[in-house]
Each structure stands twice: as C-alpha cells, then as structure tokens.
C-alpha cells in the first residue's frame, strides 16, 4: 500500500503531464552536465574539450533519457494510445469494411445480450432485499417432487424449532383479491399476497411510509385486518398520497386498515409478479383458496413458500442437517401425513434452476443460440481481418524489418480488433435494448390475467457487463488468429513481392476452419429454428382434442363477495339455470379450468389409490392433475366420452362419489382392461371410494406441446370449488352473449365481478399460438441472422480466393483451360468446405435437438424432416455464395489477368 502512496503520483504525472516530466529530466541532466564541464575547465581543459569529455562520461544524453523513460513503467499506456490512434486511422481508411464488421459483431453481441437479460432475470438477479445471499428457501420433499411447499403448522414448527436462521418467513402465492376502496363499489381484481408477520423485518425491507407488520399481528386468526401496499399500487391507485395510512379498504369484502407502503426498491420476491398489497397470514380465512382444508390446522395444506435468513457463520450444510432432523421428527409424529416426506434447504440459484421449471430452460437455450450467432459473427470478422492482414503483408514486413517485436505487432493488430469489437459492442447493446423492448411489447400476449405480472427482462448492470465481456472476448476470438498469423510473415518474401501467394498452403488452413465453423454453426442455428417451428406446428396439427370456436368464457370467484360455500353453490346453480334460457345459448358449462388455461397456481391435483392396488412400501398414494366440471362440460367442449358416461344431474352431493378419467389415465392404471366400474380411493387406501363412470378422450390440458398426461374429472356437485369459469356455446358470434350474461349476473348479485370475459378462441390464440410464437420468432430470427452472416462470410472467402488467384487463373486460361475448368477449380474448394461444414453442423444439430427435446418438448427421437429440408437448402444457398465469385473468375480475360498487379 505504502508503495503506491509514493509511486502513484509519479505514474499519474508521467501520464498526464508527460511534457513537464520531459522538461524536468532535461533540466536535471543539463544541470549535471554543466557542473561536469565546469569541473573539466577547472582541471585545465578547454571548454570544448571539457564538454566532449562530459558528454562521453554520461554515455550520451539521448540514450540516458531513453533509459530513464523506460523506468517510468507507463509504456504499456503510451504504446496503447499510439496503437489506438493508429488503428482508428487505418480503420477509417476502410470505412465500409469497418462498418460491416461492426454491424456483424453488433448482431451477435446484441442477440446474446438480449437473451442474457432473460437468463439474468430468471436466474441471476438477486432478491431485492439487504444481503440477499443469506436468504434461503425451505421446501418439503417427497419421492415425486423435490420442491413442495409447506403448511402453516409446519411453518410454525420450523420457525420455532430451528437455530440456523435469524428469522424464518412464509408467504402464500400471489392470488386474485377483490379490492374496492369505497364501500359499495364493484370490487376489482388485484394481486394480494399473504405473508408472515416477520416478513418485512427479516427481509430487511424498510417501509416507504408507515410500518410493516408486527409479529403479534400474525398470531390470532382473523383479528388483525391490516394491509401493506406495494409501491406501484400505491402510486397508481392512491396517487402516492401519504394520507392513505389509516384508511380503510375492502379486500374480498372485508375491511382492512392500511398501515404502510413497501419501498420502490422492493417490488416483491417473485420473478414475474409484483403484489399490489400484502396481508398477514392470520387473515387466511378471507383469502384461502382451498375450501376442503383448514389452513390453520391441517398439516398437509401445503400452500406456503418458506424462506429463512441464515445466521452469520451458519453454513447451508448445517441448515440442511437441521431441517432433515426436523423432517424426521415430523415423520415420527405424523406418520399418516408425513410418510416419506423430507425437507431441504435451497439457495436462490437452486430454486430458480429447478428441473420442473421451463422458463429458465428457454432462457438457457436462447442464450446458447445467441452465442452461436456471435460465434458465426466472430468467424466472419476473423475471416475479414485475415484478408485485411494479408493485404497489409508488406506493411507488416516493413515494421518487422525495422525492428518491431512480434509481440508488439500482435498487440497492435489486437488493438484494432478491440476497437472493432468495442464499436460492435456499443451497437450490440443497442440491439440488446431492441430485443428487450420487443420482449416487453409481448407482455400482454404472455400474461392474460388481471394479476400484476410483468416481464422482468431489462438491460441492467450485469447484462451490460456481460456485453462488455462478450465484446472483449470476441475481439480476442476474431483478432488473435489473424494477428498471430500475420506476425509470422516471412520478411524476405513479404518485402519482395506485393501480393503473390507463395507456397502458403499452411496459411489457408485457418481460413478453411473458419468457413467450416461458420457453415456448421449456422446450420445448427437453422436446425434449432426449424425444430422450434415444427415442434409447435406439430402440436397444433396434432389438435388439442376439443372445440374452440363459438365459445364465450367468463370467470367468477364468489369469495371476492364473501360468499360462503352454500351461497356459492346456490349462485352457480342459479347462474347455470338462468343462462341456459338466454337466446343464442346452445349449451353451457362450468369448469374450474378451461383447457390450456392452467398456470402453475391453480392446477388442481388429486391424491388417490386405485382400488385393489398394492402400493409400494414407501408410497401412500399416486397423484394426478384434476379438473372440476359440471354435467355440460364434455358436450360443450366437444370432448368425446369413449366408454361409460359423462356426469349427470343424479351425481349430486348425496349420491355416491364418481369421476371421469381420461384415456391416458385409464391406460396408465388399467392397461388392457376397462377402467369403467373401477374405483379409486382418495388420499390413501382407506379413503373415500370414487367410482370411475366414464373414460374421456385425452386432450391437451396444460400446453399444446405436452405429452399425453393423466387427468381426473370431478363433478362440481360433489367437489365444490369457489372459482369457476362459465363457458357458453353460441349459435352466432359468442361476444353477443356477453350482455345476456351480464343481465343474468345482475339478477343474482349486481356487484359480482366477471373476470377475463372473452371468446375462447381469442384466449386459445394468445395462450397456445402467439405465446409460443414469441419463442419461435426469436429463434427463427437468430437462425436467419446466422444464415445471412454465414453466406456473407462464405462469399467473402471464395471471392477473396479468386481475386488472389487471378493471375494463376489467367495463366491457366492462357494455357488452354476452359471457363468451366476454372469454375470447377474454384468451386471445388468451396464445395468441399461446405460439405465438411454441413457434416459437422448435422452433428451439432443432433446435439441441439437432444437439448431441446429434453428441456422443452419431452419428446425423443430425431426429426428427420428438419434435416432433409435444412441441409440441402443450406447447401444450395452456400453454393450460390461460392458460385458468384467463381463465375466471375471464369470470365476473366487472360490478358487482363496476366497484367493484374
């Protein structure tokens, strides 16, 4: 440290006041010289002799100075500045080439930066809290799922019985809450999140105004109706009015007092969702979604995300061991509920890259493809720089001849590519902003919901740093090989002739590798694009298994109006009865989820044991996705019942329990046997028996590219659910029915909100066509960019080869070669390169297909058709790129060619 105290001012002075330093050096040496001369004169020499002697004693003034300058250690800088100046000058000479290179790099860097912004938001961005690295997530684990949430009871036990944490917090999922500021106003849907009383304190979030929850506000169920607003909601709903504190608002019809507003810096802990407000967990009765279970008592009502802030010095492993022991205790105490259930602690990174989440996988695939575009761009630029270096051979030879070191020369050339890459990087950031803006513009397509969800991709510091790193990397990637090659220039030949190719086979090697890399990478990109398009197309052509036209959908959630289960049942009964009478309604149904209308939050599932099944020792039940529907569902949606029957009015709450399963389910559990008439028992082998009365056709339920999966249908009468969607099949335009529905709802409850009213076809288009279309567009764009760059690169290389061999071609033609001979000569090489590139590209394509299949489409095998189309078209296009310059070569006049140069 002390070293720098003395030396840093010196270095800075040398850099910033270089002239002054030189003057002082002059003065110092002059001072010495004068004394030396005086001494000489005093000893009897003539002034001239004395001067001569003095100079000799000092070994020459200029040499001295040069030696002293070397001690200043800022050579690297002054040299660099010189290099930059020189590089800019020489790049300006070839402005067209420079622009082309910069744009090429910009595309590559921009594509990568834009897609990286996605991965950044999905994986790397830390929680917006103080010391986010200390915050870990606790999960419940079973054989089937490694990331189960925890129940309220379990949360309390963990909070009170662990020592690894400064605090343990819990929150439920963000859910739709009916919000009204004034009494009597129709509630609007907002996103609310229930959190534990210590939530803000443990996360270290200081409210913008007011206060966070107190621990005691989370202790007595139903007592403390207080709410903390999210920053955005406060801004938009209350115009950032501080007087909001103490105000009363209605959430799901119940009065809550506003006690605080979260700060701008805390938009919430979710990646996509930014809750409008937070309520204490103790108010769960107002918000709880599950009518079958008691939130406060049932240990298996696992609805909470639990996080802890590790104490300083506590390792993840210690926390892990502690929670494992606690999970064993749970298993002993509650063998029925917790059999085979463990627990684990995960970091934020582990949670975000969990295997059952598809978003980040898309991100990783996109970044991989973005990097592939960058690779093509870099090889392209490297090729151009190689050509440039060749035409500068003489200049380089001169530099070497007058004593430039090889390292120094490489540095100069690398500086040039660094400047090119910086230009490309700057433009690339602009392209990246474009990509992000485009993502943002797709927001409404992606989220068809009333909840406050937003696409979190943005160009933040991490993304910008990554772009910078990419620019540097690409400078090295595309500059190093040309620089090393040209510094190896053979002096004698380099000086002698202008640009004649000497036995330089070795030198072409690098360029050929570039072409092969380019062709293969862009082939891989195209394959990926093609697979993506075909994957989605396939899923469309396969059909979804149900009708989509002439359907109107609108959602209801009577809990928003504080209906109890009996009122809810009555509401739906009357709604169905009355809407049936409306003109233009051909049929109607109520369903918990419309097909393809599930997201992770409201996908219901059922635990069951097929009757007579011997369960494995370590497993109590199987689980399957479930949907609750009424009698009209299968008919209205056009889903055929393959065996048995659908639901009937007679399947009432008093009648024996029944269910319909899909064909996949039937095949899964009773292969080669008829499932109709079989029973399943709910929860475990001693649970309520449910008879399977019908087998329905398997439909796409979650998304269009899913593989067939199990699905159980329950009748609404026997399995009441609060939040339902009304689907109406119309004779004419479905939207004409909207007024009829409004009229009917008004006769039932004037304030009941209607959620997401739209035609099912629109919904389907957004959800299943346009949403995935975003991914397809992105990948297709990258494929196209990669291909254009590859074509440009190939064209450049062949054209360059031709121009270099012009003289040779002239001689050949003078000796009697025909133009087709020449064409073959020039093309042959290009063909070979493309062929090798294609072979490598096919192998890479297989790799990418494996990756995409395993990550996205759950499909195996190889899509031969993709290669049959992509490979020959790639071949054709690249051949064309080689043909044009080759043809030009074949038409050269021999006389002209011989005079060339």
């Amino acid at each position: 440290m002390e070293h720098w105290w003395y030396t840093l001012p010196l270095r800075l002075k040398s850099i910033l006041r270089g002239r002054r330093v030189e003057q002082e050096l002059d003065e110092e040496l002059q001072f010495h010289l004068e004394h030396k001369i005086e001494e000489g004169v005093a000893s009897g020499l003539s002034p001239k002799q004395a001067r001569y002697a003095a100079m000799r004693a000092m070994d020459g003034l200029e040499q001295q100075k040069e030696q002293i300058r070397d001690t200043r250690r800022i050579h690297w800088l002054t040299d660099f500045v010189d290099d930059v100046r020189y590089a800019i000058r020489s790049l300006r000479h070839t402005a067209g080439l420079t622009a082309f290179v910069a744009i090429t790099l910009a595309l590559g860097i921009g594509m990568t930066a834009g897609t990286f912004s996605m991965v950044d938001a999905l994986i790397f961005r830390p929680y917006p809290v103080s010391q986010p690295d200390d915050v870990v997530t606790l999960v419940s684990t079973t054989q089937d799922s490694s990331f189960d949430q925890l129940s309220y009871r379990e949360y309390l036990d963990i909070r009170d019985k662990t020592n690894s944490y400064q605090g343990v917090i819990a929150n439920a999922a963000m859910e739709a809450v009916g919000f009204s500021a004034e009494p009597g106003a129709t509630p609007r849907i907002k996103g609310g999140m229930m959190v534990s009383g210590n939530y803000f304190r443990v996360l270290g979030v200081e409210p913008r105004i007011g206060r966070g929850f107190r621990e005691d506000e989370d202790q007595v169920p139903g007592r403390d109706a207080v709410v903390v607003l999210g920053p955005n909601f406060w801004k938009h709903e209350f115009a950032s009015d501080p007087a909001v504190l103490g105000r009363t608002v209605r959430l799901n019809g119940k009065e809550f007092t506003v006690i605080g507003v979260a700060p701008e810096t805390f938009p919430g802990m979710l990646i996509f969702g930014h809750p409008d407000f937070y309520m204490p967990l103790a108010m769960a009765r107002v918000f709880s979604t599950n009518t079958q279970k008691n939130f406060f008592e049932d240990r298996d009502d696992r609805e909470l995300a639990v996080r802890g802030r590790l104490k300083p010095g506590t390792t993840l492993q210690q926390a892990q061991n502690e929670i494992a022991v606690l999970a064993q205790n749970f298993e002993h105490e509650y063998p029925k509920l917790n059999r085979g259930r463990g627990a684990a602690v995960h970091t934020q990174f582990e949670m975000r890259t969990r295997g059952d989440d598809v978003n980040w996988k898309f991100g990783v695939i996109f970044v991989t493809l973005g990097l592939a575009v960058l690779l093509v761009a870099c090889t392209n630029v490297a090729g151009l720089l190689l050509s440039r270096a060749r035409s500068r051979k003489r200049e380089i030879a001169v530099r070497l001849a007058i004593g430039a070191g090889r390292f120094r020369l490489v540095r100069l050339l690398l500086t040039e590519s660094l400047i090119l890459a910086s230009l490309g990087g700057l433009l690339g950031v602009a392209v990246g902003y474009g990509v992000v803006a485009w993502f943002q513009s797709q927001q409404n397509v992606v989220f068809m919901t009333d909840l406050p969800l937003a696409i979190p991709f943005r160009m933040d510091t991490r993304v910008l740093i990554a772009s910078l790193a990419l620019s540097l990397l690409s400078a090295l990637a595309c500059g190093l090989v040309p620089a090393l090659q040209s510094s190896r220039t053979d002096l004698v030949n380099g000086l002698k002739s202008a640009d004649v190719d000497l036995p330089g086979r070795k030198r072409l090697w690098g360029r050929n590798v570039l072409v092969v890399a380019q062709v293969s990478t862009s082939l891989m990109l195209l394959t990926a694009a093609f697979l993506m398009v075909r994957g989605f197309q396939h899923s469309m052509l396969d059909g979804t298994g149900f009708a989509k036209d002439h359907l109107l959908m609108t959602g209801f959630d009577p809990r928003l109006m504080q209906y109890n289960p009996a009122q809810t049942k009555q509401f739906y009964k009357l709604l169905a009865e009355r809407i049936r009478e409306a003109p233009g309604v051909r049929s109607e149904t109520l369903t918990q989820n419309v097909p393809l209308g599930t997201d992770d939050f409201d996908l219901d599932s059922v635990a069951f044991v097929p009757n007579g099944f011997q369960m494995p020792r370590d497993r109590e039940s199987y689980t399957s996705p479930m949907n609750t529907v009424d009698e009209g569902y299968f008919e209205t949606m056009g889903i055929s019942i393959l065996r048995g029957r659908g639901f009937r009015d007679s399947d009432s709450s008093e009648a024996p329990r029944v269910a319909v399963v899909n064909e996949q389910f039937a095949k899964h559990y009773w292969p080669g046997d008829d499932a109709v008439g079989k029973h399943i028992r709910l929860e475990n082998s001693a649970g309520t028996p449910v008879e399977i009365v019908g087998v329905a056709q398997t439909i796409k339920f979650h998304n269009t590219f899913e593989k067939p999966m199990d699905l159980v249908y329950m009748p609404l009468a026997q399995h009441p659910v609060a939040r339902m969607v009304l689907l109406l099949r119309s004779d004419g335009d479905p939207l004409q029915l909207v007024q009829s529905v409004k009229d009917v709802v008004r006769t039932l409850d004037a304030n009941m909100p209607m959620l997401h009213t739209m035609t099912y076809e629109d919904y389907y288009l957004n959800k299943a066509v346009k949403g995935p279309g975003i991914a397809v567009n992105l990948v297709a764009t990258m494929g196209a960019v990669g291909m254009v760059l590859a074509i440009a690169g190939l064209y450049g290389v062949v054209a360059y080869n031709v121009s270099r061999r012009t003289r040779e071609i002239g001689i050949r033609m003078a000796l009697g070669a025909t133009s087709s001979d020449v064409l073959r000569l020039v093309m042959g090489k290009g063909l070979l390169l493309v062929a090798i590139g294609a072979a490598v590209g096919i192998v890479m394509g297989f790799g990418v297909e494996q990756l995409m299949n395993s990550m996205l489409f759950n499909a195996g095998g190889v899509d031969i058709a993709a290669y049959i189309i992509v490979v020959p078209s790639m071949f054709l296009v690249t051949m064309l790129a080689a043909y044009i310059p080759a043809r030009r070569a074949s038409q050269i006049e021999p006389t002209q060619a011989l005079r060339y140069e």
Binding site: E2, H3, W4, W5, Y6, T7, L10, E24, E27, E28, L29, F31, H32, H35, K36, A57, M58, D59, G60, Q63, Q64, Q67, I68, D70, T71, R72, R73
Partner: protein, 111 residues
C-alpha cells in the same frame, strides 16, 4: 545498456540509498559524494547514475523535490523515504551476509 564499472550488480542501489540516508542531495552532489567516500575505488559511471536514481524513485524508495542550491540554481534534490530506509536495511543486511560468506571462502582457500 551501460554497466556500472567495477561494481557488483545491484550494489549501486545500496550505495545511493545509503548516501541519501544521510542527507537529501541532487544528482551532481551524489556523484561527487560517491567518488569521495569510496576513495575512487568504486568507479560509478555517470551514465548509470540517473537511470538508477529514477528507478529508485519509481520504486518509491526515494522521492524528489526541486529546490534552490547554495549558489541559487534550481536542482532536483533526492531524499530517502520510509520505504527506502527499510529497503536499505534489507540490502545492507544482505550485503553483510554476502561479504562475510565470501571472505570466509577466501580464508579457507588461503589455509
């Protein structure tokens, strides 16, 4: 590159630090002092004096200041820093060890 005449490599640094440890001096005075205290035994080429001084300065062992000389001329005066004193001790100790070892070797060969 000129070499220090008759001077073991690296000892010039030691000598300069030692001299400047006594009092701040300018380059010419240093060269006079070198000659006088070593009694003309150690011939330091003036050509290597200034590069050595600048090197020591860049290392942070000595620091320079422009001041008036007794005959009212501006000159660059060098003085030793704390870092330089430490370096001097280290090099002096090193030198003593080395010279002791060498004289021992010489005695052995005489015996």
């Amino acid at each position: 590159m000129s070499k220090p005449n008759d001077l073991v490599q690296g000892t010039l640094d030691l000598l300069l630090l030692k001299i400047l440890g006594l009092e701040p001096l300018h380059g010419w005075a240093i060269s006079l002092r070198l000659r006088s205290i070593s009694g003309d035994v150690l011939q330091v080429s003036e050509g290597s004096l200034y590069p050595a001084l600048h090197k020591l300065e860049q290392e942070g062992w000595i620091t320079a200041e422009w001041k008036q000389t007794e005959n009212n001329r501006r000159a660059k005066f060098y003085s030793i820093t704390r870092l330089g004193k430490r370096q001097l001790e280290a090099e002096a100790a090193n030198w003593r060890r080395l010279s002791a070892a060498i004289s021992q070797v010489i005695q052995i060969s005489e015996a």
